[in-house]
Subunit: 417 residues, 4 copies
């Protein structure tokens, strides 16, 4: 596609090429899965078999050695052109794998147990035997303040209880990286990452996702009821209610960024439909080609400008995130200031890209005439899928503005919530 | 609802009160019909039995004597709060009835045959025995240039052939007021209104409506195949390809205006959901009430301003349209200039109201958090329904601007299409 | 002008006609006063002599008996078409006169002293011998919290000290209605209206207005230094820091509304320039008329829609304000709830109208090509004048949203400031 | 400034550092020149003496060897922070110098005469003895269709007649690179670049610039009356009325891009004023710091997002333009397709950046309260300066959309004008 972003590393080029192949395939089934709200197990299987889902694993683990954040974002945008639901599901797994890969590439920066665990996970990922997901959201609270709780038992194990929403990819994953709170001796809470094998007693993964869009993403609820876990499954990450740990930064860089990139793919798909549509459609008594009508040309121009903008902000953020990631791997600081500094730019990128993507799909809908409003037309799906973007963690749009402003003004970025 | 528009005539007050009653009832079934894409026959029956669908008929015909355009618009906005699909379906019938009522109120302005026909229709409408609809749209052409054609036969009858799309209400109607072209002796075409009894041979009303939104409006295709009609069924209305007859003006005033009003109802429903939602919802570690967060207050304020604007433009247009309608009934000119002058204001009203309605639903979605994105949440339906607005005839948004500009500049309002 | 608002009362019609006459005259000097930043004393004199500035006074006081808020707003919009600076200056006086007229029309609702004072003022106004203004704004505080203070002296008189900004019309006025705070025995402050004869010792009216726009409005500073005033000059109006007295409501209805209306006039003037300009201008190698270019037509259409919207919200608010005003005169409640309920709608109207007015002038600038950017072109002045709108009291745009949201949600409308 | 763009080449770093030094100096005189509308001759002299205006000349010509388009854009944005008028004036000269430098770096691509001329010019530029400008705009026509005409005389010389507007920098330049048309034998016109020494008889450079903003840019008219020029002064560049020559591409890359960059500098200056202002200002009865009010934080956030976007699109375009420029220097095609392909992206960048810059200044004005509306406040100047952006050649905003759309759709990019 004219003007599209291009990967810069060799693994990135392979990853993007594979994404395009999968996208072409998935596009043929996207409408059906969307209509049914069914999870595309066959898509996941195909991505696992092709090595796409193992891409972040180092080559000697059986992966592609994909390290570049920018290239990962481009690959996800390409995949989303075919089926955005599948793309955001794949992203959950890829984000986890990318974090583990960073741990094994830089073993000195983490606890030995963490490195060993990451090593084990990555080997299984590289061997196409493991899929993971990250159920972190809960209704009624924010991402820094999970109400799901892991309670220490006398035998040193933990009992996990809680309910996660938006458990994208949970239907296919074997390991669920969840968030929870853990009470400390002084009565305050720590925030923890909890590693839950899906087969554990007390884990229930519901196939109950039924939403306006992203209907094939399998983003149903995950319920933990007295789920017993060994001590090693609980990794303390910081204060409950506070974002800013190194892991938070890495999660934002690895997972959130490539998630946002999926919405560029939706926009690009809509742009193609719009441009190709008006080149063929004729309307009115004189049957003039839509493309030859100046008001239509102007709408296409607005789409072009929006797309130029969306790509530009993605690129600018990615360059910055890669520099930050290098800094972290080199042992540099990744404390709370670094987190907020990076997250401010991430939120700028997310906000602008999502707005532009929504605007592009909307304008493509407009130039489609009534056709795009029909259920069978792909724009009807893109229109619903793209609206999911602004809901993505960690900030709602009305929170993002307050957050960005506070960081820009050098104030403590604690939202008034 | 605070700040809502209020009817001014006695029949209008009864009409609006009835609309509110129906809306409360229909709201209970709206989700189900939306999910299934099923036509709400029971809603139509209820509106016929209550006399709501007979409202425009004069009192001595068994109707409510509803004449006020403004009150009609308010009633339709109220009905749409409960189920927008049902409202736009009802509007198709009510618009036809309103035109017929204007004919019998002002018999000197029409041909005797037309008056007699209107008289007969209205009696049946008043007696709750007749429903009508107006299939006028076709894919690939504009509303002034129907490709459906009525061909004169040797016996003086006509054969009608063509395919109409967006045949809202056609599943329930007994009479279809369609548009067609009729060849003249000189080879040019006239534009005609064709009165088609649904039971006629060669009429096929498809139950094939499957769209992003307005899913319960029964807006499927209507196909005419060698449908034989008596000469009296064909009413010539003007030049093919040219809008501006008296009937065009009346259609715009009667039908298009109240259709646009339905989208105010959608916006008002979304506003209520948003306001009531944030008054109850708590989110975040401190469980602060959403309504107490300033960024949420600001979003509610934007909704309020949008709603203030939407109501204001509706009111301003209605006042103007009533003056025009009085002029027409008083025998005043309603030629092409009058049409374009009124249609320019209509398009301004439509464009602004639709934009504000879409914006309101979008912001309500935002303040809902992820909740409004779930299929079972009413906002998920309103979000899809409200997007139908800009597609409404006779101009797409990109055409409306060109049209308004040409009229404002005193240029011939022929679009470059 | 096509589609313009029309007055409904007889005094309103005379007021509007006079406004149009003055506007045509003032337009000839507007550029010169703008360039120099000079106050148009001759305009003020002309308006006083024509009776325009006495319009709100009852007929038996020598005035026009102008009561309608709507008609007053229309008149101010017409005047502003010619010179917006003069219009906002005139508005300061007219707003005071309107409040005094309401007092004498409804003498039972005010203290006898107030009625007598209003009676005296109005007689002087009707006799073309008195001009007034309302210096209420101070830098660094809000309108409910003046820092200017009136301190009670042992002899029962007060000493006034403080500095007012934006003292529009103060160069011509003989009486300054200022705001101040007055300490109570318990150490808290009351908010007061202070009547200051300009000739009093200690009153300094600076001719120091030098701003981006509204350069001929004479909105310089007014400084009070130990200005001695008799007890009767201090009228307590409510709590310091709190808006919501009957006078606040009346000020909003009388003064703020007609002030906002001036910005409609600016927009209408810009619209005329744009439309007339593109009908004459040719550009490009083929010298095609600008009006015949579709993208230009679309910009004109956007101006038309904006203007339709601006007029609609003005009209809708005016209808509501007149009902409220009738209620107040009839002895109805005008307490704090009534104030906020009305002020919410006022702010919706103000925000939307100002946004549309700014947008209209901006688009007129765009279609002007480089021409409108030249100092001698009237659009260069309108572009600077119209930007004053959002600064108008009592709320900045970022405050207005918080305020509207709080009122809509039924929360105490105290801003977080 | 946080997040600001950074130069990548060594000459670029020196250029940017020098720009920042000059900006700090020029800022001290900006208000005065703006108020008077006077041309800052002393600024131009300082830039010539520091070597800033010689930067594009190769090192052995006495220049800085500045080649990077990206770095040039950054330098111009920095300079404009101090005084945008001076920056756009300097840009006229720098753009010419950059084109000449590209000619001497790549001598095989141009005619020997052109190389020799460029060599001579650059030596004078490097020696701080020559300033140039580019008067190309004329009222009533487009940039591809100059009405100024060079008529061949019997002696082989030409007589030049015409009037140029917006002759930015012409008061200081010794050489004017103008555009003109030249009649061919077949009666059609060629488009030509004309090299005019300012001292030539028949050249009149008016000091008549008096505009809304950019008041210190000396953008007055240049009049040619029977100005006699030797044949070598006329360089044919292509068809009259058609853009797309290699020079057009280079002009766009060299001159237009760095011109647009100046508006980023205006936006950055406004952002600093806004952020620093709200950190100090207190307002309201409680004297709460403006920065601590959430609605103010949100406005600052919108500024941040706009700035992020403006920088991102500048960067994305610059990367692309540098690749194109390399292609041209390497002898690659730079024909009409290459021009339109590049110009489409340029227009996307320009449109988005200008919109964001205008929006940033407007929001900075809003958070300033009334303060920014005062003439002495720098925002009052930035508000007027930034509005010049959309008028910049070669397309008005309403043309840009039509142009971008046509190129995107693969249609001939000839505007309907």
């Amino acid at each position: 596609m004219e003007g599209e972003l291009q990967p810069r590393t060799e693994p990135g080029k392979r990853f993007v090429a594979l994404a395009e192949e999968h996208a072409a395939d998935f596009a043929t089934r996207a409408e059906q899965h969307d209509r049914e709200g069914s999870f595309p197990h066959e898509n996941v299987k195909a991505m696992q078999e092709s090595g796409f889902l193992g891409a972040p694993a180092p080559v000697d683990y059986g992966g592609m050695g994909l390290e570049s954040i920018y290239d990962t974002m481009i690959g996800m945008s390409r995949l989303a052109r075919g089926d955005a639901s599948t793309a955001i599901a794949a992203n959950m797994h890829l984000a986890s794998a990318a974090i583990m890969a960073r741990i094994v590439r830089n073993p000195g920066a983490s606890a030995p147990g963490t490195v060993a665990a990451a090593d084990g996970f990555l080997k299984a990922v590289g061997a196409k035997q493991l899929l993971t997901c990250v159920p972190a959201t809960e209704f009624g609270t924010d991402i820094a303040s999970p109400m799901t709780e892991a309670v220490l038992q006398e035998d040193g194990s933990y009992l996990l209880n809680g309910r996660k929403s938006f458990g994208t990819m949970s239907l296919a994953a074997q390991i669920l990286f969840s968030t929870a709170r853990v009470k400390r001796d002084d009565g305050t809470y720590a925030r923890a990452l909890v590693v839950v094998p899906k087969g554990s007693p007390g884990v229930e993964v519901l196939d109950n996702w039924d939403a306006l869009g992203m209907r094939a993403s399998g983003s149903g609820d995950v319920i933990y009821t007295d789920c017993k876990l060994p001590a090693g499954s609980i990794i303390i990450q910081g204060e409950w209610g506070v974002m800013g740990s190194t892991t938070d930064t890495e999660t934002a860089v690895s997972g959130n960024s490539s998630l946002v990139a999926c919405f560029l793919g939706i926009a690009e798909a809509a742009r193609e439909i719009a441009v190709e549509g008006v080149k063929k459609q004729r309307k009115g008594a004189q049957a003039k080609l839509m493309a030859e009508r100046i008001p239509v040309q102007q709408l296409i121009a607005e789409i072009e400008m929006d797309l130029f903008t969306a790509r530009a902000v993605l690129e600018r953020f990615a360059v910055r995130a890669e520099q930050d990631a290098e800094g972290v791997e080199a042992g540099g600081s990744a404390g709370q200031d670094a987190y907020h500094d990076m997250m401010k730019d991430h939120q700028c990128m997310k906000f602008v890209l999502q707005q532009r993507a929504i605007s592009i799909v909307d304008k493509a809908m407009t130039v489609s005439g009534g056709a795009g409003y029909m259920s069978k037309h792909p724009l009807a799906r893109l229109y619903r899928d793209v609206r999911a973007g602004p809901f993505m963690q960690p900030f709602a749009p009305y929170e993002a503005l307050e957050y960005i402003g506070k960081v820009a003004l050098g104030l403590p970025p604690d939202l008034d919530r």
